[in-house]
Amino acid sequence: MSDTKRGQKGDILLEMKGLKIEGRADEQWIEIVHGVDVTLRRGEVLGLIGESGAGKSTIGLAAMGYARDGCRISGGEIWFDGTELRSASDEHLRKLRGHRIAYVAQSAAASFNPAHRLIDQYCESPVQHGVMSRDKAEKDAKDLFRRLRLPNPETIGERYPHQVSGGQLQRAMTAMAMSCRPDLIIFDEPTTALDVTTQIEVLAAIRDIVDQFNTAAIYITHDLAVVAQMADTIKVLRYGNTVEEGDTRRMLAKPEEKYTSDLLAVRTYKRDQRDRPENEGPLMQIRGVDASYGTVPVLYDVSFDVYKKRTVAVVGESGSGKSTTARVITGLLPPKAGEVYYRGEVLPADYRQRNKDQLRRLQMIYQMPDTALNPKSRIRDVIGRPAYFYLGLTGRKLEERVRELLRLVELEPDQYINRLTTELSGGQKQRICIARALAAEPELIICDEVTSALDQLVAEEILKLLQRMQDEFDLSYMFITHDLATVRAISDEVVVMQNGRVVEQGPKEEMFTPPHHDYTDLLLSSVPEMDPDWLDRLLAERAEMARQGRVLKAADN
């Protein structure tokens, strides 16, 4: 956009100096951002990256002069285009927000008002800020919807938020942020809640639109590979401090700080494939399983095998039926048809019909360590219970066993054995969950998205721990995940699921070498890579394929 009176590309647009933010915890204020500097030029995209607790969202909002309930900006200066926002009046801030600085939230579904049509919510900012008339805003909306490649751009605005899918809503929200042609947009983890294949579409749409209008942006994410596609410069944050800041390509090629290179190394962890054990049948076989929730069918003819000491990764996006498969195997959801064989014998369909030994051999680790541990229990009881329940350990023996298990998962027994589960971090909780599963001395562990709720560095530690446990105790894993980096890291065999069906399966090396099934291809190619050119290349490839008449489509569209 050649709006010269708003300044030239390259002028400093936003400058935050020594920004300090405090959060309210337990009746007192605690500093959570300790003096961070941010400089952003017109038309530039700054990526803020960090793990949970780094303070990135809070800093993003501070750029609008806004602090959430329970937070306050306690120090520093925030200069936006010649105005200091901390000392600006509420009225002045209100006029800036939505008009010159816009915000795109993580959860579009929650951030759109359920009571109004998309178009009404779109038009609100431009009309209220007096940027353009309602008619013009509506026309403009349709144009933006088209540019963001939303389906039916003429009519989609007539819909209510709950009538539109997640990926589309996220693009509609980007359009809404664009409605006043702001100088700056804050993107707060806009693709985190989306599936990978949907994420691509949204990323491409956001990048194009920011490019076209020469808008400056702050892009907040925990995913370095995503930010590599979007940002000109990257700022790495940790515990409310700047770790490192620099040009994207430079940082990816030559990180200065260890923390940054750790983050970069996360997705490169990979183990070699091991072949199926010879002259030994599979440990568990799933044969022709159909299942449904009530009358809604969710699984169709699912079959695959799990071998002893090997890891099967079941991959798919949300709604693909991978967690349902786990529920069938554990006996929580008896299937409509088909069987689960364990060592050649049929497992009773309902877990209540299984005997103690059958239950013991099959353990489970959950996605959310927060909800997988009783917040009122002590570590001693959490780990001790299965050892007592299945193996009858009591007294000194039980105590010894619990300590041994804690040491196995690398937690100092004296320090942790008497703690409540709520007194642990996410990664530590997941370790306790692993210890609890091991306490039963199982043969097969089902890991349901065990790393997806964790920060990347922690997740990698957990993966490595699981790997060691497998080697030590001859465990088999069934690893449910949506994340192909995890698959690459840990699996021997891969099962790809889509819409309740297995679309492809085989040993990992085979699966990761072309030719692929179309869906596998889409899934594989959609995983962001650290290479800043990856998105361009991918889009070019897909455009080329489309010319040849082969279209890969995510379910969301």
Partner: protein
């Protein structure tokens, strides 16, 4: 649209079913009455003949199912039989009392609902302010008071203590401590007479309603779409009117319905305190006489009103829910 109609029809059906079951429960309950009403009222003078005659006259010799069916069809056609105690026609007896009760409840609601909503929303908007804290303590105190305590304090302050310094009448109290209305009391006079009972109920209901309104609004203001509206630079007043209000309708309707239902029951005690000839008073009086037909009829009316109010709230909240109004 058909889906929402189906949902509403389902709720209506459920409401009717509940009414039916409730009437059955009340009738069945009273059926369990130990001893015999006839023996009780005839007392010492009871002979086998007179008791039997009394039973026949009141239909007590019929099996329960017949009597229930009879009663139900009678109730539906507003023929509720005669009071056992004073032989008066119940429909006639109750209709006047019911209109009195509805007048009192309506009067109270007319003051309480707008007042409570206004003050409750205000407390939510200025959360943690001095006003909010005061409101919290005041409402908490107010809902803790038994109705009769509030009533007697008001009687003391606005009736008893004003005797002799009254500017209106010669040495009379400002407001009468007894709300003795009759059928030919004029509307204005009626308003004056029921002022104290209505004020009592208002104080209690307003406190409940304010707390619920405040909680509902605060809950709403914490939603991400309200933050989004702020970040879009929308004016505060517009956020309230355009973004909060449409979504607040369902919870607010719910709050109103709960409190109106509460009012229906709350009138009982207040009517007794002020000796007000309403349905609650007659109900309590006849409970003491064990006058089954009157108790049954008035309990049924109370229950029906209660169910109807909840049903209305239910349906209104369906109608105001955009997700149901505009299905995928």
């Amino acid at each position: 649209m058909s889906k929402i109609l189906a949902t509403i029809a389902q709720r209506l059906g459920l409401g009717v079913l509940t009414l039916f079951v409730v009437s059955l429960v009340i009738a069945g309950m009273l059926e369990l009455l130990p001893g015999d009403f006839c023996e009780t009222i005839l007392g010492q003078s009871a002979t086998v003949e007179t008791v039997n005659a009394c039973r026949k006259e009141n239909g007590f010799d019929q099996p329960f199912v017949f009597r229930y069916a009879d009663w139900l069809s009678g109730f539906a056609t507003l023929d509720m039989g005669k009071s056992l105690a004073n032989k008066r026609d119940i429909a006639e007896l109750i209709s006047v009392r019911l209109s009195n009760t509805l007048f009192l409840a309506g009067f109270t609601a007319a003051i309480a609902v707008p007042l409570a909503l206004f003050l409750g929303v205000l407390a939510a908007l200025y959360r943690y302010s001095l006003y909010d804290r005061f409101v919290n303590v005041f409402t908490l105190t107010s809902i803790s008071f038994p109705e009769f305590f509030v009533a007697y304090i008001l009687v003391l302050l606005l009736s008893v203590m004003t005797v002799g310094e009254n500017p209106i009448g010669p040495n009379g109290p400002w407001f009468p401590a007894m709300a003795s209305v009759s059928e030919d009391t004029s509307f204005g006079e009626r308003l004056y007479l029921v002022f104290l009972p209505a004020l009592t109920l208002t104080l209690v209901v307003v406190a409940h309603m304010m707390r619920m309104t405040r909680a509902a609004i605060i809950n709403l203001l914490a939603s991400p779409y309200i933050e989004m509206a702020r970040l879009k630079g929308i004016k505060n007043s517009r956020i309230i009117v355009k973004h909060a209000l449409p979504n607040a309708l369902a919870p607010i309707i719910n709050v109103i319905a709960i409190n109106l239902a509460y009012l229906i029951v709350g009138v009982v005690v207040v009517e007794v305190v002020f000796n007000y000839p309403g349905l609650g008073k007659i109900f309590v009086d006849h409970v003491k006489f064990r006058d089954v037909p009157v108790v049954q009829a008035s309990a049924m009316i109370f229950a029906a009103t209660y169910i109807l109010l909840n049903l209305t709230a239910d349906i209104l909240s369906i109608v105001t829910n955009p997700r149901l109004m505009h299905p995928r």
